[in-house]
Each structure stands twice: as C-alpha cells, then as structure tokens.
C-alpha cells in the first residue's frame, strides 16, 4: 500500500499534464520571439522583394530585382567580401589578444581570479560609443599613440578614419566577449593533463600545440563565432572610427535605409547579413562536430 505511493511522483503519472505545463511555461517567450523577432524578419524578407522607386518610394511587388542586381554589382560583391574579410581579421586579432588572457584567467584562482574577471567584464559596462571616442583620442593624428611612435623615430601611420582604426577599435571592444567565450570553453583543460604532457617529454611549446590548443578548440570556435557575428553587424564603432571612409555592410545598410531611402535594397542587404550569420553558424557546428568526434 505504502510502497505504491513511493513508486512514482503524482505528476509523473500524467505525462500529458507535464507537457501542458511545459507548453504554458514556454508560451510567453515563444510569443515575444514571434512578435519581436520572427515577424520583423519576415517583414524584412518580404521588403527585399519589393520594388524601390526613385525618391524613396516603395512599390508593393514580388521581384527578385534587388537580389539579382546586388549579386551582379561588383561594388556590392566587393563590399560583402570586404566585410567578411575585415570581420574575420577582427575576429582573429581578438582571438590572439584574448587567448593568453583567458588562459591565465582559467589558471588563476581565488580572489585574484574574481578580481581579474571583473576587470575583463568591466568594459562591457561602458557604452561602445564612449570607448570608441576613447580610441579616437588615442589614435588621432597628434594623439598619444602617434607621438610614442614618432618619439621612437618612426613615421606614425594613419590609424584613424581607415580600416586600421576600425580593426583596432573593434578588437578591443570585442575582447571581453571573446575572453568570456574562451573561458566557458576551457572546461576540458585540466592542469594535470598539461603536467602529464610535460612529464612525457613535451616541451612547453609542444604541450601547447598538442594538448592545450586542441582542448581549447571548443572555446575558440565559440568565441570566434560570437565575435565574427558581432564584428560584421557592428555599426557605431565602424561609423565613428571609419569616419565615413570605410564602407562595409553595416554602414551601407544604414546609408541605404536612412540616406538614400532605398528600403528594399537595405532589406536585401540585411537579409544577406542574416544569411552570412547562418553560414557562420553552420561552419561553427561543423567545426564543433569535428572537435568532439
């Protein structure tokens, strides 16, 4: 008699009711996502098939002209490739700058680790605009960085209002995201495993190459995915550091939507960015399967 009541929790005897609770709990977020994200994306997709009239008008239509025009225009092809290359460059620079910090943080312990982690996260508490202006001050023509380079007897290169400035600014702005992603992915890296490699005769370099790097690949993949997506969609830093002279997808979408008032083209470019995201995600899951396999 008593054992029967212990056999199964009451709720578990009615699978339909637990499923009902799950649906009820998921419903609010599903609705928010549907209204706030999926619907606008559909809108955007629909807009990319409308016809743009001169002077900012939009004609309801169902034409692939925006798409075909875009993919035949060498300016846009170059813009897309450029955006991808610059974003990849920023991602790689961010990875190089963040990896040693993340590795050090992973090995640190106690209050020191907490302090350093807070330090890493703290830039996220200031707006990217403020940080970008900070970089503008640093990298300006007679700024401190240029002065230091000049003092060393070199001709300071232009670091503002060009791609160099954009890469430097975005690399620093994206570093916290990269560091946090790397640390999240470093779970498999046990210091004992490194020690095992050392005692088996691996030099520090080979320990890194054969053991540490492979074990941190999941973190690297995650960080790169996140930073690539953030880099290719970042706008403020690009606009301010590029000074209107660096043309990439984000600025072009803005110009088409706000300046030229060609909403269908802006929508097409936006959809293209979404497609690039999808591709990045596909590459990420592919890489992850390769690592885990």
């Amino acid at each position: 008699m008593t054992t029967a009541t212990f056999d199964m929790p009451v709720g578990a005897q009615k699978p339909s009711s637990t499923a009902g609770i799950a649906v009820a709990l998921l419903l609010p977020i599903a609705l928010v996502n549907a209204i706030g994200f999926i619907l606008p994306v559909f809108n955007l997709a629909r807009m990319s098939f409308n016809e743009a009239l001169p002077g900012g008008g939009i004609a309801e239509a169902f034409t692939a002209a925006n798409w075909t025009g875009l993919l035949q225009d060498s300016f846009y092809i170059e813009l897309i490739l450029n955006s991808i290359m610059v974003s990849l460059g920023i991602t790689f620079a961010t990875l190089l700058a963040s990896y040693p910090i993340a590795l050090y943080l992973h090995r640190a312990s106690g209050a020191w680790r907490t302090f350093l982690t807070v330090l890493v996260i703290s830039p996220l508490l200031t707006s990217a605009v403020v940080r970008t202006y900070g970089w503008i001050a640093l990298l300006a023509e007679q700024g401190p960085v240029a002065n230091v380079i000049a003092a060393m007897g070199f001709q300071p290169p232009r670091m503002m209002f060009n791609t160099t400035g954009v890469v430097i600014g975005l690399t620093e702005i994206l570093m916290p995201y990269m560091i946090l992603s790397l640390m999240a992915g470093f779970g498999r890296l046990d210091p004992k495993v490194e020690e095992a490699a050392r005692t088996l005769g691996a030099t520090p370099f080979r320990t890194f190459w054969r053991v540490i790097l492979p074990l941190t690949l999941p973190g690297i993949a995650l960080g790169c995915l996140l930073c690539f997506v953030l880099a290719i969609s970042s706008f403020i830093t690009l606009k301010l550091m590029g000074g209107g002279r660096v043309f990439l997808l984000a600025t072009e979408i803005y110009d088409q939507a706000i300046v030229t008032l060609n909403w269908p083209l802006a929508a097409t470019l936006s959809m293209l960015v979404l497609i690039i995201f999808g591709a990045a995600l596909a590459v990420y899951s592919r890489v992850l399967r390769m690592i885990e396999g």
Binding site: E195, A196, T199, L200, G201, A202
Partner: protein
Amino acid sequence: MMHQTIKRDGVETIGNPHLSLEGINKKYGLVEVISNLNLEVRKGELIALLGPSGCGKTTTLRMIAGLIAPSAGKIAVGGRDVTHIAPHGRDMGLVFQSYALFPHMTVAKNVAFGLEMRGLSRADIANKVAKALAMVQLGHLAERKPRELSGGQQQRVALARALVIEPSILLLDEPLSNLDAKLRDEMRTQIRDIQQELGITTVFVTHDQVEALSMCDRIVVMKGGLIEQVGTPHEIYERPTTPFVASFVGRTNRVKGKRTGDGCIRIGSSMIRSARPAVQDDVMVMVRPHRIHVDWSAASTERQGETQNRMAAVLSRITFVGDVIQYHFDVGGTEFIVEESTKKSQASRRQGDEAVLSWSVEDTLVFGADQ
C-alpha cells in the same frame, strides 16, 4: 631523530642510489611543507611515500617529477643532478591520481604521445604502443577515447602511457584511490608484477597503509613535511620508531604508563615489561590488537612472566566483523581492543565477562609520552 633514521636506512645501507633527495626543503610563502628531507632509493626498488593528507608526500613526488621546484636541496637520478631540469628533460613516468589522460586522443595516441615527443619512427611507436597495451591487457581498446573506458581501464592506460617511454623512474600518485575495492586489489598485484618484471625504480605515493605494506620494498612514513621512519614493511609494522608510525600503520591500543625503578612500566595497578627500555618517566605503551591473547579462565594475573605481560580486563563490547571479531575490554579505565579470528565458541561471550589479557614483551611498544 630523522637523521638517525636516514643514517640507518639510507646513506649507510645504500651504496649507489638510483634516486637521491638531499636536504630537500619546500616553502610556500612562510609555510614550510617539506623540511630537510633526505632519501635514497635503490635501482629497481618500489618505495612508498606513506602518510596522511597534507604530510608532503605528493609535494615530494611532484618535486621528483620536476613539476614544482624545491626551495632548497638537491635531487639526483643515477648520479645526475636534475634539480634544475624541466619535467620534459627528466625522463620520468608519472601516473596521476585522476589519470590525466588526453581526452582528445585515442588510447593508442595517448600511449604513443611520449614516444612521439622522443622522435621515434612510426613503426617503432606502433610496435611499442601495442606491446605496452598488451602488457596492461587493453590491446582491444586501442582506438577508444578515454571517456569510453571504465576507471580501471583508464588507470591502466595511464600506467601504459607512463611505462612505454621506459622512464628511469616511475612515479605513482595515489593511482588506486579512485578504484573500487575489488579492482584496487587486482591492480595492486598487477602494478607490483609489472614493476618487478621491468625492474623499474618506482616511487608510490599513498595514504593507504595496506597498499604500502603489501606492495612495496620499503616505506617512507611522512608526517607534517618530515620523514618519521624509513624501513621495510616488516620493520615499519613490527618496530615503529615513533608513536605516529605505530598508530598510522596498522591499528594499535595505546595506554599511558609510568616507568618504575626496576625497568618495568606501571599501568594502573599492573606492571608490564617491554623489549626496549622506556626512555622517559612518562610513557605511551602500544600493543597491536591481534597480538593480544585472551585467557577467559585465568583467575589471576600474578604469574607475570619474563616474556609475557598480563593484565586483568572486563569485556565491555563485542564487534563482529565477519572473519574477525573485536573484543573491547576495559583495563582499569582504558579501552583495549583485542582481535581474534572468528570461531564458533565466541558466541557465548557476554558483556561483563572477566578475562586476563596477555601479550609478548616483544610486542610491547613503548614511546615517550610527549613524542
């Protein structure tokens, strides 16, 4: 104390040590975790570093491996000073408590790692890996990943990985503590067999006295960063030189006593003798539970012989452990535990039964009370 031990069991008895630690000292900040440790290990010897957690045994092992540097002192292998050599230059095989297998490599790749680092040819590596895996009976699992193996199998992979490089010294850091009891017994025998077969000098860190006693040629008992005693399992068990060793290795009864003028020791109203004379007036007497004989029919303790100590006792509790039975006796306010192999006749014993406990003078260990 420590220097005497080393002189007897270390420097004087070993002619040409394979591994020697001289005056090793390790400090973390102001905390000294190892103090002036001296130890010599013969070639082919299996030596245990035995002690409770925090005694410095793992720190010592890690210093031998080169994973941490001693604050002072010298470590030499085969006469070569390796104190300042990085771990990858030391040629030692280390088996970690957590095994520390490379999770992204197959079993075969794990075992091959050390050989690849040594630049061996592919054919040589394949050959040696196959042999090493066969030695630990894991040849059939070569292509598995570590996470697909049981704890015991992972442990054997770690052993094969450490042995395949034919290290000058094998270091084992509590290799059996994560295994269940049955597997632990099997691995004990297997590790000892392999060690004997290869004749490899091995340092074995453990907190388990049974492992140390049953597997090792010699045992180094450590406490608080100091060596308490170095000796063969027999010496450690039968002739412990400190009360810590006596109570840490094997179980023991302990009772306070006073030295009397005629070389005897007074415990309550009884007088007993010990093989070694007491060095202080206040002493601690220890007797192993299974060395005590219980005489249920003896009426008095008067016939105190030259070779036997006798004390009257009252049975206070019986613990039946299966193959062993433990009698808890009250001896003038002190509890004495006596162990016997189980027999049917024991069923009639009751709390409050009176008996005379007797044990050999040889089995009476005596230490200074403040030791």
